[in-house]
């Protein structure tokens, strides 16, 4: 006996949050009481009912049966006392082993007590409580082992104390207890592992929320102060980059190709990092996500327009704007407006980049492009897709 408690202690149960664990254990305790009352009622009724009729099938050992049930009920009472002191006391090796032992004895002596065919086993489903408890304390495999062990105890009882009637010990109904108790252990273990995964996700999420709140209130504010109050251009750029990275981390790293808004933001981010340009991306709140083709086309076209704004216009500030259009087709309007030198459309010929990367890509997805320039007013490229 001395090695078993330490063995059980070493087993790692699923890591579920203490409140959930306490709730489950409390539930199982209530389950023990309900089933305890039920199995007592069933047994007493059997004794009374059979004694009343003149059938030959009396309960063979009624007094022993009542003593055994009393034993199970006192275990339940003892567990309740322990529970009131500390919930975790329910999952210690000693109570678990005691309960397994009592459950096994009840199942083993079931046929001996009744001595004839009967509808429910002596302890009914009371042993399931300890199978659940093992699942919480030690995980799926020990729970399945406990269930199979308890089923075997009943099966063994059948072999040693055979019924006067004729059911073969090899029939399916005889093996059913082993399977059902085993399955109970497996299901409990599986559900708990799911709970474990959910708990882990929740705690990761909470930690992240907490970090986000703290950083939002503190670090982002500080980075904003630095950007506004420093004359050191390098420091400002550094603070700006850090702010962007932090924001991306905090408010979700969005997949670039998820929708039009994130594709535009990604293009803007790239241009900001490459040229030290300030790009404001403004997307209407009701902007549709767009088809994969249009997302890709708009993302690369806007990237090219931003390159042009820096290279040809010498711009340092650009606004990218996207909104749904009123008419059904085409459905999205995107504009890129810079504060650069602008140009005179009459004298400037379009370069390769503009023709292929912007007009070509947008035309491929059935859209159109307008380019507007005015010396001293910056350039604007408008796209409908």
């Amino acid at each position: 006996m001395s090695i078993t408690p330490s063995l059980l202690g070493q087993l790692n149960g699923p890591r579920i949050s203490p409140p959930t664990r306490a709730t489950l254990l409390r539930g199982i305790l209530a389950f023990r009481w309900l089933v305890g009352i039920w199995m007592t009622v069933v047994f007493l009724w059997e004794i009374w009912d059979r004694g009343r009729s003149d059938r030959v099938l009396d309960v063979a050992h009624p007094v022993a049966g009542i003593l055994l049930l009393a034993c199970a009920l006192s275990v339940t009472g003892w567990l309740t006392v322990r529970y009131r002191r500390d919930v975790e006391a329910l999952v210690l090796p000693t109570p678990v082993l005691v309960e397994i032992a009592v459950g096994a004895v009840l199942l083993f002596l079931d046929t001996w007590v009744y001595g004839s065919v009967h509808s429910q086993a002596l302890p009914t489903i009371w042993p399931v409580a300890v199978i659940f408890t093992v699942a919480i304390a030690a995980g799926t495999r020990p729970a399945v082992a406990t269930g199979v062990g308890l089923g075997l105890a009943r099966y063994l009882g059948w072999l040693i104390f055979p019924f006067p009637d004729v059911i073969s010990p090899w029939s399916l109904s005889r093996i059913a207890s082993i399977v059902l108790f085993g399955v109970a252990g497996w299901v409990a273990g599986y559900l708990l592992s799911q709970q474990e995964a959910a708990d882990r996700e929740i705690s990761t999420f909470r930690a992240r929320e907490e970090v986000a709140r703290t950083l939002h209130d503190g670090v982002l504010q500080t980075l904003a102060v630095i950007q506004r109050r420093s004359d050191d251009a390098d420091l400002v750029t550094l603070a700006r980059t850090q702010e962007l990275e932090l924001r991306e981390y905090l408010f979700g790293t969005v997949k670039v190709d998820a929708d039009i808004a994130s594709a535009l933001r990604a293009a803007a981010r790239r241009a900001e990092q490459r040229y030290g340009l300030t790009v404001q991306v403004v997307c209407a709140p009701d902007l549709p996500p767009g088809s994969p083709d249009s997302i890709h086309a708009l993302g690369s076209a806007v990237g090219e327009v931003l390159n042009n704004a820096v290279k040809h216009g010498g711009a340092d500030k650009v606004t990218v704007y996207a909104e749904p259009t009123d008419d059904k087709v085409p459905s999205i309007f995107v504009s890129v407006k810079d504060n650069g030198a602008g140009f005179d459309p009459a004298t400037v010929t379009e370069g390769q980049g503009l023709r292929r990367s912007v007009r070509g890509r947008i035309a491929d997805v059935g859209g159109r492009v307008e380019i507007d320039g005015h010396p001293g007013r910056g350039a604007e490229v408008r796209m409908w897709v």
Partner: protein
């Protein structure tokens, strides 16, 4: 901008370091009458001092900028300061009566200019805010009748702002004076404000609130 006149300001933000930073940036043309650390303090200070301008953090304890705009929007010009333009409350603050907003990373010179213009009654609109307002009007016109829609010209102006054009640039392209552009923007804000108010009244009537 004359050197003899100055704008009186109440500064509200729950971070003292931020208040002192903005205070330093405002320079000589602004006179800070009082500072406040939350919405209630700000409202009390506005009632006491009657400033030309309130510079107010969007997120503050006990109600934040929206509460301040709701309570004092008719008494003075309120400009929201915000860390992020993605904040949902932004539109609510403006609809509640704020004159516009600025992001906290606005450089000092730009901040001073914008606040000066705000104090003179010019709405401080950014492309992001214009886009939010456009979206709101699209939503309102879909949801319910009875709202005052934007005129074609107002919608056009607002879209120009959203696309990143300055009032001056918009004026040149629409062949109107920058002042007229500004008036359009102010009217748009007024309609937004009015529609929100009517929405509240309608809600109150429908639910039997006197």
């Amino acid at each position: 901008m004359s050197f003899t006149s100055h704008v009186t300001v109440v500064l509200a933000d729950d971070h003292p370091i931020w208040r002192s930073g903005v205070r330093a940036d405002l320079g000589d043309n602004f006179h800070v009458l009082a500072e406040a650390g939350d919405a209630d303090e700000a409202i009390a200070a506005i009632h006491r001092h009657r400033p030309d301008l309130v510079v107010c953090d969007l997120n503050m304890p006990r109600g934040g900028g929206i509460k301040v705009a709701k309570t004092c929007g008719d008494m003075t010009k309120i400009v929201m300061l915000t860390v992020s333009e993605a904040e949902r409350d932004l539109l609510d603050a403006v609809a509640a009566g704020a004159n516009g907003y600025l992001v906290k990373s606005t450089p000092p010179q730009e901040l001073r200019d914008a606040l000066w213009r705000a104090a003179k009654g010019e709405p401080v609109f950014s492309p992001a805010l214009a886009s939010l307002v456009l979206g709101e009007f699209r939503k309102m016109s879909k949801d319910s009748g009875g709202v005052q829609p934007l005129s074609e010209r107002e919608r056009e102006v607002l879209q120009y702002v959203a696309r990143g054009h300055t009032y001056k640039e918009i004026g040149e392209q629409l062949f109107i004076a920058p002042k007229t552009v500004e008036n359009h923007v102010r009217n748009i804000l007024g309609k937004l404000h009015l529609n929100r108010k009517q929405e509240l009244i309608r809600y109150a009537l429908e639910h039997g609130i006197e």
